[in-house]
């Protein structure tokens, strides 16, 4: 049994990031942004980034989403911030799942992938 399976659907990381997201908010002067919805549930995530000297200087997210999607957005923002743009653009769902450490069932996987795909959209050349 993996740690993720033991943690269940709502791992401590997900609970904590849902209650107190670190990267939620507006980012005035953002130089890249993207937004998308999850057609299954109508959840919406918007990522705002400020890019400077080829690196992701700051990231914030807004939106209306469930605990899993909110936690994923928060972790996605954290993983992207401070990285070279090219590297941030290569972040994957697996990178986020490694931080969330939760047993995400197939029906909820879209909640995790939405913020990652929004990041990719924001950084697309």
């Amino acid at each position: 049994v993996t740690a993720a399976a033991r943690a269940g659907l709502y791992s401590d990381t997900i609970r904590e990031r849902w209650r107190q997201p670190r990267y939620r908010g507006e980012l005035p002067g953002a130089t890249a942004q993207a937004e998308d919805v999850n057609p299954l549930c109508g959840d919406r995530v918007r990522l705002m980034l400020s890019l400077r000297d080829g690196a992701v200087d700051a990231v914030r997210f807004t939106g209306d989403s469930c605990a899993i999607c909110t936690a994923s957005a928060d972790v996605t923002a954290e993983l992207a911030e401070g990285r070279p743009v090219a590297e941030a653009a290569r972040l994957t769902t697996e990178d986020v799942l490694a931080v969330l450490q939760a047993d995400i069932r197939p029906t909820r996987m879209r909640c995790v992938t939405l913020p990652v795909s929004v990041l990719q959209k924001a950084l697309a050349p």
Binding site: G8, L9, Y10, R15, W18, R19, L40, C41, G42, D43, R44, D64, S65, C66, A67, I68, R108, C111
Partner: protein, 405 residues
Amino acid sequence: MTLDEKTRGDFPILDRIVNGHRLVYLDSAASSQRPRTVIEAMSQYYATSHANVHRSIHTLGEEATALYEAARDRVQRFIGATSREEVVFTRGTTDGLNLVADALGRTLRPGDEILLTDMEHHSNIIPWQMAARDRGVVIRSVPVTAAGQLDLAAFERLLGPRTRVLALAHVSNVLGTINPVAALSAQARRVGAVTVVDGAQAAPHLPLDIAALGCDFYVFSSHKMLGPTGIGILWGRRAALEALEPTRGGGEMIKEVWIDRARWNDLPWRFEPGTPPIAEAVGLHAAIEYLEKLGMEHVAEHERALARQTVEVLRAIPGVTVYGPPADVDRGAVVSFSVEGLHPHDVAALLDQEGVAVRAGHHCAQPLMRCLGLTGTARASFSVYTSPEDVSILAHALAALRTQL
């Protein structure tokens, strides 16, 4: 004996243990469960009588045809249709609405109007958008009041000489509101508009008398009324069906075919191209038999009581908001609610850990969600086997929910 006590043993799936708890299935509005008689009728059909229908000149073909057509007769009686020709088998409510919208759409002209309501399921919105597209047809919509009912004053204003179609739900799949279909279709008729009713959330729960409703088309699904998936019913007033050109072609829907033209078959087969869902018709027949044995009046009464109980107990839980008509107004077998500080999908996932199955999200009614200012709701919905205890278990689990995330 209550209806759930009488029926519970007939539904094998209700014995399932989910996440260590007895299954409490409160998602019957999405799809109901099936009694053993339905499951057995279908496997019996496959084991003994299956062949293609209508043109198979052999014993099995005759048996299959007889069973398929007997299902149609049963549906006719169940909904109070004047004749069997008015009962068309489809693949489900969505399919039926698409069929009607597609066919009616071809008769529309620039400036014509289609009147919808803000509480429609996407299935009763998108087909009309498709019908209106590229034809200069205008879509209008009746707003919903704060009490979760259609704004009838606005309806009167919106209905006019350009209105060609009124399409509305009999019962809202989110709010449970029972719309006054008879009164609205009478008004629509006066301006020469055709009324199309989405009966998906009504047919499984209320006694139906199609003739008294006064609409032109009425569409519903088998799988929400204890029958199998893959089959639905489109009822059309004979003259209204006769006036429609079929939009889907194939075998069975024709009388004579030349390489460049054809003559259509009689009703109802004109609208049933290809091999129909035969085993599903057999299953639907068994489902109707089951419902009629219980009596639709009793079914409606049982579910009304459950809805009342649910509204009452959920309203008493701090942080829970219940949507839909006021408590003293009858509603269908659904109750939508939200829990303060929790997303509906998290509510559903946490309830699932207690073995409680509810629906969550926009319920394919995004325009309505926008009116309510919500992304989604959680929804408990009922059927004949739902018990007052199921509702208590839901309430108990909900009360403990806010501390869990």
